[in-house]
Subunit: 277 residues, 4 copies
């Protein structure tokens, strides 16, 4: 077997000899020597919660802050996020910590407001083939973090990136977040081989989400190390000041002290593969 | 094992003794004794093509006409559909044939215009967890045909239906269209057991798409019969006057004469399970 | 997409114009106009249990009797089957009812004794790529019912059949029994499209196991009908006089009266597709 | 979600406070601080080929030699292995290099002869639920390397280990080798999260096979590093003196010089997680 992708994927594919794309967000760069760690809670729940999380991840050495304001929830009865209020809280946290903010956008008509407050527009796994949304963020002025769909092939995922690039936005970060398989003990199956595979066939940076990718707190640390060893350009990790009371994804969120330990242990792994944290 | 779904799914679940929901579209009823057959091309390509398809499926006994005007395509370089022009052609075909029209809507802001022309709003597999879109069609005045996502569990799919029902739209038709599995000879794996399973745990009507579910023309006829035998309330079948020249899904589209034969052979199968065509 | 299988599969592939293979077992024929129904308990538990099941399935019109004597069980602590004692009970049941007997064989060195008592040697899903076993039954004088592996592709499955045919045994019956997918409500995903697909690319008869394929009693009847409508040459159905007390697979076993109803309802479905029961 | 496995799995489960099991093979220990690397060709093809591979992997620092004498091949027309002749060549290579030998056994009646020549009995993915074989190696005097089945859940895999342990053989090494999923670019999906998960719920050592797990040579190095970073106790890597002419698995086999580079780069990764090579 050899790694050949469809020749119809043009902008997202690595052409012969093409350099890695570096995505710059404030002072952070994704795709370079430094492994970028994006951390924060699944949802912005309150100003207090977000600020506490932001300070903790900053102190531990994170490069960016994550937090959801518009939340894609399986049922309409679940907490749907704080919306614009959540975006404002994220912007305040950036103000205080200096950390650029990554947050999800779910509909074309929300792009303008999310772009106003956020530094990176996240397209969630459920929207990887939401073409009107992909076209819209292709016209945005901010980088896009494009999660893999739960059942996306590598080529479908790169084709989704192609929509954004074709729309005129050159800054796409791919995010492996686990695929659906038959396993019952973990939430998804984290497909880490996608990392070196993508680095070979595409020039785009690749980050890994070990939190959604496993759904289990105790697996986040080893899988973060594995992702970096596999060549990931960054991680996106859920951290919550109080996971037991989280309004979403508590079971997979690290506590601030666990995140600090993770960051401490990640450095040597990054250096062992010629990167740094 | 027993068939128990999450108690958080309320409106889409069948409560004890609850009758089947019947969805009425013009003269057609989905969920009753008669098996509804929705047929037509993948994409509306031109007035001529659509009219020819519409007349053929009408003559063969179809209950409704399908055809895509807004098309979700894997790559931005593929034909993206005729848009509003396609909707107008569909409305003309309804005018002439009397067949109600089913067509896909992909973005919240397109719902109003699609609703103006179409009789049923289709939510495609790629949008089954596009919550802003589900909320928007929950406020529409037309029934919604909700395709299963490529990797949706039954509960996730019913939860998507819950969004539409919770929004105030009681007319949801579920459509099994194949799930992603490891097979390489077919496009998807048609999960026909979902049909009797859904009839047991939900009151909503269930139709089957054997065209996308297999991706192979020669399998459409046997799988249509199997779907009806399994208890499906309807089928949605791709028919194209000239599959070799189709702009999308040609390999899985029936020719008009093949569709006519299918309709002829489906009648006895429907009657064998106490239904009619 | 078109249905092309590897040209390295020779004996199991249908060559141009090749007729269906008919497998004859006593008076029964698999692959002809008549749909063969193989029924009986998962395990032979006692003479009384097996005899009661055998009489019931015979009375309802079954063509053959199934029952496991050597049982592949996930854990060593589970009931492992009665072994040769079970084979003798099966032979007695054949004596009384006239029904040919299908039973599983798990190891090359057991083939001789199983062949002595049984009419059809079943290779279970877990052994579909147990090549020493396939080679051994390729030298047996009895037909082989070859279940699909939980994750077998069509080509891998036909390649397993190729081992048996290549060994000199021309009588292979393929049995679709569900594949592993991400679903959580059913035990497996019954891949009924495999039936018409196999009928197209192979000359071998194909039967369906709706009991293992779903794992849920209430789904066995509709999926049996669907299998026949899809073109299956037969069914293999678990029937137990008292499913609540079954030593294995109780949740998916039909009671004798349920099986009788199934047989009554299957006749019209078979006739609707030009077959008979 | 929390990591709880069935309480029916007793011997393979880690009881509270239980230490890691160390499996000793000659001078090698699997499960301790040192990461064991097992390397060699897929098949023993000739004395020259095996000796060249053995010397190369020894020189690069491998702990053990792998090589198949009895080969499970999808089709009967493929090279089936040299059988006992291959075992003898493996024993000669051990003689010369001092490397213990790991080789596959496929049938109960072959266990005695394989045990005579080999140091570790490998049970392949296709035989993970071949219970007569598992029972037989449970009585063997040599350790067992138990590959995960292509569609094994963690619990099914541990249940297979339970058969060996229950048979009286305490030395079981689990080997993650990729599971079947829908991806088309790689041969399997390597489930690295299984490594820390197993270390948590079981006391048995866990090794990873990045060669079968990806099927692609260029992915073997990054996934080897990722496996070690995830906490694997060892690796099993295919190395062939001349992959282009290999009789099996050439596309995923490393050349000797590539293996040497891999070993050089693995050391720092192992040390970064508190292990050594």
């Amino acid at each position: 077997m050899s790694l050949k992708i469809s020749s119809r994927i043009k902008l997202a594919a690595r052409s012969e000899g093409q350099e890695n794309t570096l995505v710059r967000i404030g002072d952070a760069v994704i795709g370079g020597e430094k492994v970028a760690v994006i951390a924060g809670p699944c949802s912005v729940e309150s100003k207090e919660q977000l600020m506490e999380a932001a300070r903790a991840v900053k102190a531990a050495g994170a490069s960016m802050l994550r937090g959801g304001a518009f939340k894609p929830r399986t049922l309409p009865y679940s907490f749907q996020g704080l919306g614009v209020e959540g975006l404002k809280i994220l912007a305040e946290a950036r103000e205080e910590t200096g950390l650029p903010v990554v947050t999800e956008v779910m509909a074309p008509e929300e792009v303008a407001v999310v772009e106003e407050y956020a530094d990176v527009l996240q397209i969630g796994a459920r929207n990887v083939q939401n073409y009107p949304l992909l076209k819209r963020v292709g016209q945005a002025g901010k980088p896009v973090l494009l999660k893999r769909g739960m059942a996306s092939t590598i080529e479908e995922w790169l084709s989704a990136a192609e929509y954004v690039l074709h729309g005129g936005n050159p800054d796409v970060i791919l995010c492996e977040r686990g695929i659906r398989s038959y396993g019952k003990l973990t939430r998804f199956t984290l497909d880490l081989a996608a990392v070196p595979l993508l680095k070979e066939v595409s020039h785009l940076p690749v980050v890994v989400d070990p939190s959604h990718g496993t759904g289990i707190r105790s697996l986040v640390k080893p899988m973060s190390k594995a992702a970096v060893a596999a060549g990931a350009d960054g991680l996106i990790v859920e951290v919550h000041p109080n996971p037991e009371e989280a309004m979403s994804d508590g079971a997979q969120s690290l506590r601030p002290e666990e995140f600090k330990i993770l960051m401490g242990e990640l450095g040597p792994v990054a250096r062992s593969v010629g990167r740094r944290l």
